[in-house]
Symmetry: C3
Subunit: 253 residues, 3 copies
């Protein structure tokens, strides 16, 4: 099985699929191709939340704002999963969630500027060949070396002070829910009550449907983080927040 | 084979795919994940039009405005097809189109508010297990009971009075065609002529291409219903109609 | 393997998938279903760039502004690839790229206006049956004849005069890159320098990342054509160009 994730939109992912199917007899599964363009951190968040639900697979990830620069090609392993991606940190959070001690290998392109479509010409052939021939044969053939360091993306740590927190919006999902970096535990003791969000009291509930349609609420999303939401509406709009912005939350009592 | 349909957009459906592939050796086929959000009736319309073209499969459908409430989990069977969905009516029209007497089973969640992502945590595992272990084993294991009643969605009946009808727009498709609830037979005897739509005479034609690009027409869509359309344009815009709105159509003579 | 490409958006492609899977035991691969609506030339461009990366397959293509008219149904073969499409030229460029001398067969519908959804009712069954039963059996059964001529789409030839060219924008990709009809060789001797685009000097670079984010550049895309681009931005917007428009490019010296 090979999964595909990118910020390519359409139809470029199909060229990667052609390359994969020409070189490997693999089931292909699309994760998403509409990750916010060239935003490594948001893609890293979603991959960390989604890929752990998959059985062992080769995960091909191409969100690559550094294409055409000297950034390395990364192969990571976590348990029986293999990740193929640019060395920009996009697969590090998911690899580290799956395995306390993932292995990282890097290869430096001879001529980084030689292809504008590395997804098709570099990453897809590599993922296909790992699927067909096994990791060891490919690491050797392609002149990979164990990585001393890898590029990382940092999710900002929430600044929790007693009963208040400065929360950062990590992503806004397709429903409009604004997902923060605050662990759901923060609001566990406020469930059924309210918290202050930038000075306004907002109900804390376990489910969207606990309130009337259109009502704002603070809840815990399926990823375990605190979310700013609206029942049947778009939380990010109702709270007036965007990715990377911060809000102050404070529990009473 | 397991088909997937939802209003999740991207990338949440991928988490369901991971769960399915972890538990079942099944071919996955996406129906759509961009159904109008939390609109059970529009999703029910499309499923009724599309799923009958499929060979026997487990159909996983998650359009679930009642997530987090006490609504039941529904398993329906129609011939060799099995549907897994919330008990809100979304799969009832397609089940009844496929089989005059579908079977319905429901299960009540112990703690409906315990998971915000029932698609991933409740419905996908259930669909996978039915695919792998067969319906009977699962119905028993999961404490399902035959349903005495199931939730239903009602498509408004067209009010036909002799040569006129009050038509309701059921859906607007991606081409912009406004699909009404009026059976195509209504305009069979007006083909090649005109009908009045809210007082304006509009040509009735069998195909979009029968008129110049940009021309409005009334036709019968692939679903068999009367459609308000524009050749190479968006009928809903040209007629100024939206889902759930009504128009008056009248044949002359 | 059957690939699917259309301008249907969602969810109509799923009906084609149901038909294909009911008639054929084939792997299905989506190329794209969001080709610019009823724009045969843009679809033909993308198919020519993408399908050659695939292993032998039946390629089902439905971009069909002439649906409901007397246009023929086309089956084309290029090497071990088979194309099923309306006879409007959409698959001719890719067939001719794959094979210097493709074979073309056409069939005239008995009643072209009899179905509004030819993708589901005509093209998908044909593609499935070719996949299952082989081309020869189907060409005979369906009353196909070798085509004396086929409809063609013409990509405008760039007007190159010494060191200047009038370039036409063929497509704008999802990244916003404006892809011209000018072969990349035209700017090979200007790499690292600038060219004039409609009178303004713009850097010519091999990769987007060679300049600061937001910078306009002229480069060669993965398809080998000259592109108007912006590093991490939308070239078409920054250059103010749309599909079918022309720009004047001139190399200095």
């Amino acid at each position: 099985m090979i999964t595909l994730a990118s910020d390519f939109g359409s139809p470029y992912p199909a060229a990667m699929k052609g390359v994969l199917l020409s070189r490997a007899d693999a089931r292909l599964v699309d994760i998403a191709h509409d990750f916010p363009r060239q935003d490594v951190r948001q893609a890293a968040f979603w991959l960390r939340e989604i890929l752990p639900y998959f059985p062992p697979a080769v995960h091909l990830v191409v969100v690559d704002p550094g294409v055409g620069t000297a950034r390395d090609v990364l192969v990571a392993t976590a348990g029986d999963h293999v990740f193929v991606a640019p060395d920009n940190g996009v697969v590090v959070p998911v690899a580290e969630r799956m395995d306390a001690d993932p292995s990282y290998y890097v290869s430096s392109p001879d001529d980084p500027a030689s292809a504008t479509f590395h997804g098709r010409d570099v990453f897809a052939p590599l993922a296909a060949d790992i699927h067909e021939h096994g990791l060891e044969a490919i690491l050797e053939r392609e002149d990979f070396r164990p990585a001393e360091t890898v590029a990382r993306v940092e999710f900002p740590a929430p600044e929790i002070r007693d009963r208040s927190v400065e929360a950062t919006i990590l992503v806004v999902d397709d429903f409009g829910n604004a997902v923060t970096n605050v662990p759901g535990e923060f609001i566990a003791d406020a469930m059924g009550e309210t918290v202050s969000v930038d000075g306004e009291q907002v109900p804390v509930r376990r489910t969207y449907a606990a309130l009337d349609p259109g009502s704002r609420l603070v809840t815990v999303g399926s990823h375990g983080n605190v979310e700013l939401a609206v029942n049947r509406g778009r939380g990010a709009d109702a709270f007036g927040v965007s990715v990377d912005e911060t809000v102050q939350m404070e529990k009473s009592g």
